[in-house]
């Protein structure tokens, strides 16, 4: 892996604007940044990222199977007891998953290490699947990238195939996000385009506009019944909302399915470590109150440890400690009241002063593409930059 300075496409800002990529700059800082790109060899993409992430997803499925069968583990997941049956049922029924994103620490030498799994509401789908792809095609045309170059990015095609695999042609699907969040909307819309291409009817509704019919089914802003709902809104929040009581009885298929609440949850990290101790792609992880486990694993955490709440987004409430000293503490502490896990600290590599995190996309059960986000800080937060990547020819 290398970080290589490359000329920007002269017209990319105009192109971004034309495509409605309005958040290419955020908070006055660039978010999409193509002044440099990450270069990988084909061998490292396949053996260090693609195959391990397909395996990690299979391991996660094994972990879900173990959790739903074990009340003590279920208790650890921080989800309301009244929803446990609903979660377990979604797993028992084989409710299909569509997508997820593993966040990995990878330094170009050792195995990639799983930092967390955004298995429920991953965003940056548009940048990864579409704008990054366009960058690559443009840069090959402009001869900035050589003819033999490639990109690990079958995300869009894989999504189209996945929708066609799960649903009969012409199935009506609803897609929902919170109003007023363009980054979220971009992910939802990218997903809906893939569904349309797969021959589905795709309808958008604001999440807040969803209603409940007299028969107890969810309805969109125009009172049409919602049979399948893609919701870019976390399960743990759905469980806390006023309509939570209707989730199990609304005869609605959810994407992602409810069992993803067990994966998009930092509690999965200690559970994975418990089931697959010493796996090369896992970092040692424990529940914060597991004093014995932590004491026994002290030799595995010599580089330090990271404390993370079970549920948080964009690095909120994360603290990194090394040699008894706080190295970095996220400013956003919104999730402090949640139970915590402790994960061995695995420093991100530093390239050009920036620390990249690999986002490896899983569609269905297979890893199909990647994107890179980098941040000057130790904790990748919402001011990080999205970087394109390519595979050297």
């Amino acid at each position: 892996m290398d970080r290589i300075a490359l000329p920007e496409r002269p017209e990319w800002r105009a192109k971004a604007e034309e495509l409605g990529f309005t958040f290419a700059d955020m908070h006055g800082e660039p978010y999409w940044d193509e002044t440099s790109a990450y270069a990988f060899t084909l061998e490292e993409v396949e053996s260090r990222i693609e195959d391990p992430c397909t395996e990690l997803h299979a391991m996660c499925r094994e972990a879900v199977d173990a959790i739903v069968a074990d009340e003590a583990l279920m208790e650890r997941m921080g989800l309301p007891r009244v929803r446990w049956d609903f979660i377990a049922q979604s797993w028992a029924e084989g409710a299909p998953e569509v997508y997820g994103r593993f966040d990995l620490a990878y330094d170009g030498t050792g195995p990639a290490k799983l930092l967390e799994y955004n298995a429920d509401t991953p965003t940056s789908l548009y940048e990864s699947a579409s704008f990054q792809w366009l960058w690559f095609e443009d840069q090959v045309t402009a001869r900035v990238l050589p003819d033999g170059a490639d990109q690990f990015n079958r995300i869009h095609e894989a999504l189209v195939e996945r929708f066609a695999e799960i649903f009969a042609p012409d199935t009506d699907l609803h897609f929902a996000a919170m109003t007023g969040a363009p980054e979220d909307y971009a992910t939802v819309e990218t997903m809906a385009w893939a569904a349309r291409e797969a021959g589905m009817g795709a309808h958008y509704t604001d999440l807040e506009s969803i209603g409940i019919s007299e028969e107890g089914q969810f309805t969109d802003a125009e009172d049409r019944v919602i049979g399948t709902l893609f919701k870019l809104y976390p399960w743990e929040d759905l469980f806390a909302d006023d309509f939570a009581a209707h989730l199990a009885t609304a005869q609605c298929q959810f994407i992602e399915p409810a069992w993803k609440a067990l994966l998009s949850n930092k509690a999965i990290l200690p559970v994975l470590w418990q089931i697959f101790p010493g796996h090369p792609n896992l970092l040692p992880a424990f529940f914060a109150d597991d004093t014995k486990g932590l004491a026994d694993a002290a030799h595995l955490m010599l580089a330090g440890h990271v404390t993370k709440p079970l549920f948080s987004r964009e690095g909120a409430s994360v603290t990194i400690t090394a040699q008894g000293r706080v190295l970095e503490r996220a400013a956003n502490r919104d999730y402090d009241r949640h139970p915590m896990i402790v994960q061995a600290y695995h420093p991100l590599p530093v390239l050009g002063g920036m620390r990249p995190v690999i986002g490896a996309w899983v569609v269905g059960q297979t890893c199909v593409g990647m994107g890179v986000r980098e941040d000057a800080a130790l904790i990748t937060q919402d001011l990080s930059r999205f970087k394109p990547h390519f595979i050297e020819g």
Partner: protein, 191 residues
């Protein structure tokens, strides 16, 4: 090759979904105004609608408002949905109101839309929304500000079911929408 052969160039925020996204909804020219004078002033600048269009659509919007505006059993409930000061007692003949028991959002303005292929312009009233912006009586179409023009789906001009003469909405009926989203911790919920 490890990348998609083709990626549809997703255009974000365009008519990709539209509001309803019922296959190929027709788009038409539309405009929204707070009152008939603003509409007439805009018509003087040229464009697809005339002073007469402004007047006939305003009259129609007023009538549609009286017939289809959402009706609530209390002012408090109405203001919860439409904002403080945005509601009045129902004075429409035959509505069952007048006794002070029914409240509806005041007419905040109206939209007019061009009929494809010609004909009289379409009209819809808009009422305020709590938290800002405006919506048609059904809530199906929202406009962020008045004195604006743009393209709009023709279905935005579909008349909502009549509410006049029907029992007003109770708190339970209002609560049947909006049960999701309350737990979002941040503006952007994705990761």
């Amino acid at each position: 090759m490890k990348r998609s052969r083709n990626v549809s160039l997703v255009i974000l925020g365009a008519a990709a979904f539209g509001l309803a996204a019922c296959q190929q909804e027709e788009q038409t020219d539309a405009a929204a105004f707070p009152d008939v004078e603003s509409c007439i002033a805009a018509s003087a600048q040229g464009g697809w609608f005339t002073k007469e269009d402004c007047q006939t659509t305003f009259a129609e919007a007023k009538a549609v408002h009286a017939e289809t505006a959402p009706r609530y059993e209390s002012r408090e409930l109405c203001e919860q949905e439409h904002g403080a000061g945005a509601c009045g007692a129902d004075s429409v003949q035959g509505s069952g109101g007048g006794g002070g028991g029914i409240f509806l959002p005041l007419l905040a303005g109206y939209m007019l839309g061009q009929v494809l292929g010609g004909g009289r312009a379409m009209a819809q009233p808009v009422v305020p929304k709590a938290g800002g912006g405006f919506a048609t009586p059904s809530g199906g179409t929202q406009v962020s500000r008045l004195n604006s023009t743009g393209k709009m789906s023709t279905s935005a001009f579909t008349k909502a079911p009549a509410t006049v003469g029907k029992p007003p909405m109770t708190r339970a009926a209002v609560a049947s929408r909006g049960g999701f989203g309350g737990s979002a911790a941040a503006r952007s919920v994705g990761g």
